[in-house]
Structures are given as C-alpha cells and as structure tokens.
Symmetry: C2
Subunit: 337 residues, 2 copies
C-alpha cells in the first residue's frame, strides 16, 4: 500500500512512517514543517534504508493542498496534520479551528476528487471530555462538555468525516482516539521534539532529566487516585504507530472508531519514578495546584481495537521511559535548529 501521511514529519507521523516502511508499505510525507523537522524524515529514511518523498505544503491552504495532490498516487491517507497544543488552542481558538478543520475539509475534497477512499484520522481521547466511567470504551459519550478548542476540533472533525462518508459511501474511515503517546523509537534516533516548554509530561520529565529544566511541576496531588496525582493511559509511540498500520491493513466500509491505549493507568508519580529508573537519576519535582479542566483519571478500554484490528500494545511504561531517555540524552536539543 502507498500511504500519504499528512503531518508525517511530526512525532506520531514519523514513527508511523517507520513502521509502515518496515511492514513493506510505501509512504509519502506531506508536512508544512511549521512544528516539525525534515531531519525526522531523513532519520526515518536512514533507519529503514528506504526513501520517502516529501511534499512541503500547508494543507489548510486550498491552493497549496491542490498543488500537493497534483500527480499524487496513493491508496490511503493517514491524517496527522494539525495544531495540537491544548493551552495554545484556548488562546488562539480561531487559528486552531481554521487550521484543523480547513485542512481536513481540503483533504476530504481532494481525496474524493481523486478517488482515494481510505482515511485514518488522528483523533484523541480528549473527545470523551470528563470521564463518566473508566476505562472508557468507544461508546463513552464524546463531544460533550469539552474544555478546549483543540479537543473540540477533534470532535468536530470526527463528525465531519462521518457526515462525509454518508454523502460518499465509498469512503472507508477510521477514527483513532489516542490516549497519551509517549516514548520513542528504541534507537533513540527519532522521538518527540516539542517546541518551547513541553506541554506533555514525559518530554518535560526528559528535559528535567537531561538538565534543560530544573524541576517538574506536578499539577495536583489530591485527586481520588492511589497516590493523589492524575492517572493517564500512556501508550508507547511504537505501539501507537503499529495501531495505525493495523487500521490501514484492515479497513472496512463506513467509519469506525477505535481507542488506541494500553488499558493501564499510571500516575504522574509512577511516570516520575519509572523515568528516574530508566535515566539512572532522580527527577526533582514540586507539587503545585491542579489545573482547571484536568481530570483525575482516564484509561482506555482498548478491547475493540484488540479484537477487530488484531492489535495490542506490547511495550511497558518502563520501555517508553528507556526509549524516551535514549532519544532525549542523545538529542538534548531534539532535531536541532
């Protein structure tokens, strides 16, 4: 299969490119490099010994998107492209809605024009909002009471894809709701390279471990969880990437939704401890007040993906910490300037 990866130079995109190439597929990366690096693609080429065509284009720009699709021959698309920083989305809502929604609308129109019928969309467990029960399966209410434009944009795009499929029955869509992606390729050659202050826990811890930041702020320690800190379902990015490959290899008519998570919850302090062990050093942290909109616990019920995609996670939190540390320690400044 020849697969277009929009946002394919990003964190999850680059790992998915690697897994798809290793499984014998061809990939094409489309990215505007606004929050990613060409070096990530180069390293995937180096790791796999395969060449990756790269199209530099902003998919949210209609004319640029049309030009990007000119002469493009692919069997499927994995749509990672989009803005993803929760806090920034609160400050810049119209930008987030515009980029995330317009890029998807352009993509859907161009796929339809060209008869590309297979689409995997990078959604998020954020669409579940405040959990009504844990672990959350795909029947959990979604798109209700979300707390930020990033999450709303994911819920809206899910709806847009479902509605598009109604008008275009040939479309085969898969909505993948990620829990908390962490880790890196075990080579340490590719990994998460956040710009500025990391929004996510593990990259922050990794930067503390490598000496770039003084200490971790733990947001709240009086949640109703075993140690009082927030519990999340961390999924190794290589497991997540394999989930995309499984989805692509088992596409079916209609639009199907899958949780991609491990099914296991880990607290902030669990991650601090596991990372400290992997890095062989203590991670200093300070407890600060909980943040508005943060919930006590989210954990995936991944049974549907396990069953229908014949996919399951095989890497532990310790693996993720080890791989994240391999990446961070070898690349203290990420992919560099």
């Amino acid at each position: 299969m020849r697969v277009l990866l929009t946002g394919g130079a990003g964190y999850i995109g680059s790992h998915t490119a690697l897994v798809l190439l290793e499984r014998g597929h061809d990939v094409v990366v489309l990215d505007d490099f606004s929050n990613s690096s060409r070096e990530a693609v180069r390293r995937v080429e180096e790791l796999t010994g395969r060449s990756i065509p790269v199209i530099e284009a902003d998919l949210a720009d209609r004319a640029a998107a049309e030009a990007a699709f000119d002469g493009l021959e692919v069997d499927a698309v994995v749509h990672f492209a989009g803005l993803k920083a929760v806090g920034e989305s609160v400050a810049q809502p119209t930008r987030y809605y515009r980029v995330n929604i317009d890029s998807t609308l352009n993509l859907l129109d161009l796929m339809r024009e060209r008869g590309i019928t297979r689409l995997v969309f990078s959604s998020s467990a954020t669409v579940y909002g405040d959990p009504q029960y844990v672990p959350q399966d795909e029947e959990h209410p979604a798109g209700v009471g979300l707390t930020n434009p990033y999450g709303w944009s994911k819920a809206m795009i899910e709806q847009i894809i479902r509605d598009t499929q109604v008008s275009w029955p040939e479309l085969e869509g898969v909505l993948l709701r990620y829990f908390n992606p962490v880790g890196a390729h075990p080579s340490g050659r590719i990994g998460e390279d956040p710009s500025g202050i990391p929004n996510n826990l593990m990259p922050f811890i990794a930067q503390v471990a490598v000496g770039k930041r003084e200490q971790l702020s733990v947001f709240g320690d009086s949640y109703p969880t075993p140690d009082g800190t927030g519990v999340r379902d961390y999924i190794h990015v290589m497991d997540l990437a394999e989930g995309h490959a499984a989805a692509l290899e088992r596409m079916s008519p209609g639009v199907t939704t899958y949780n991609l998570g491990s099914g296991n919850g880990s607290s902030v302090l669990d991650v601090v401890r596991a990372f400290g062990e992997a890095a062989g050093r203590e991670i200093p942290y300070v407890v600060v007040p909980a943040r508005d909109g943060d919930v006590a616990e989210t954990v995936a019920n991944p049974a549907k993906a396990n069953r229908e995609l014949e996919w399951q996670t095989s890497r532990s939190l310790a693996d993720a910490c080890k791989d994240s540390w391999a990446w961070q320690s070898a690349n203290p400044d990420g992919y560099g300037a």
Copy 2:
C-alpha cells in the same frame, strides 16, 4: 447603532434590516447574493425610506472578507450568512462546513482586528437534536445526536463563538436559536423566496396556494401528537426580527443563548388549515411516510428571552399565513430572476 448584517439580503436578514432601520439604527448589508436578491434590499429601502449600503462579498473567502471590512465602521454584527438547506447539507457536507465555519472564523478574526465587540449569531433550535422534553429551554442538551451537517455546523459555530470569547473577553455574543420562522412583512413586499423546491412548510404551502405546485406532501400522520402530524413552533419573521433588535439593544458581557420562538406548537394540519383560511382556498395535501430524522414535536420555551430581552412574540399563526399569502400572491415568482 450601526449594524453589519451578513447575509442581510436573505429572508430573516432583510426583515431584520427593516426592523433595525425603523428603530432608528443604521444597517450595512454584506451578502454574496448566492441565495438572495438585491431586490430584497431595494424593497427594504423603499419600505423604510432609508438607504442601505451593500457590500457584495463571500465572507468565507478570506481575502474577500478582508476587503469587505476595509474602511467599514460598525458597532455590531448580526451574522446570518450561511448555507441553510438541511437536505443539501447531507449531500454536500464539506461545502456546508466550509462555508458556514470559514465565514464565521473570518468574521471573528476581522471583528477582533477592528475592535468590533458585539455579535449576534443566527443559530437554530436544530442544535437541540431529538427533544428530551418539550417545551425546550436553553438548558436542553445541545450538539448531541444531530442528524445533519447543517445542524452540526450551527452547534459547532456556537462553540467556536464561546471559545473565541474566552480568548477575547471583550466580545459580547448572543446566540439566537430560532424555531420555525414563517410569514413576511405585512406589506407583502418582502418575504421568503426559496430557490427551487421549498424546504420549509409554509413556503411550500404558499406555492400550492398560488398554483405553482399541485399539492402538499405531509410527512407522517401517526406521530404522538393531537392530529398525528408533526408539531413545530412557528414564529413570525417580524417577531424574530424584533428579537434581533432586542438582542442588539441589550448586549451584555460574555456569550448568552436565547430561544426565539412563540412557545406555541402548531401541527402541519393546523398550518394547512390556517393558510387555507388566509388565502381563501383549500390547500390540497397527501400524507406520505415520515422522513428519517424528523421528530414529533419541538416547541420553544422562550421565557429567558421574554425576561432578559424584554421581547415577546405578538403575531399569531393566522397573521403569519396572511402575511405570507400577501407576499406570495403579489410575488408568485419571489423577487424574480
């Protein structure tokens, strides 16, 4: 107050322009005339003896929107512009999402750049989806289980406006959820001019009454309602227009949602009967199977708008039928080619 009306040449826009002018405000109409007529604006000028500046522009086109706002001086915006045919939205979802969402994003960005802080948005009771109780107040769940992209686009835009206000606290927003607008200005000079086969009940009946269509199809007569046909809350378009004026005159910080409806339900057969009396002729009809997605009954609880906007409906279904008939009989082809 000087008010920009996007989509101001349309059915509700033109009546609102008239009411605002009569109440001493100034209006500017921005419209792309893709589904409306310059003649409507001309007739509002004629009815009010006032002149209305018209900007012809597609608000969903960023460059055109920017050009339209160049040199524009207004105190508030009423945002009517958008695609509105439910069935068409099912067939053309990406077009509906693109036009309705992009036009709103462009508008919000341009308002912010220019410091225009007052916005009234044309939403719809469609956002309530399948009614959980009747009459529906503003606390009724919204944006859950909707059945078409038109309705989803309204729910999404409401969210986008709320999120924009969080990042831009000066924004004063009012979301007006219309129930079923009907009727026309009593002069019969302006009214609803649907293109093609009318999607809404009263324009269809009016075209049957005037001999343009043979008979009305009544979709279902075994709903759990007094006569078995669907019950809706019909609101006279002049009452609706006055609701917009009331909202503009009582803007307050934050984003506030109001139902605009009469609080009274009328069945399809009630409307057939009332229109027949107003037109002095029988309306032939045939009962056909109910449509997917249609609900038995929706009726507004307009108490919040009554109280906070000091607004209430004053026109009856009979008034709406009389005025609609005055419009239809004097303008059998609407505003003409």
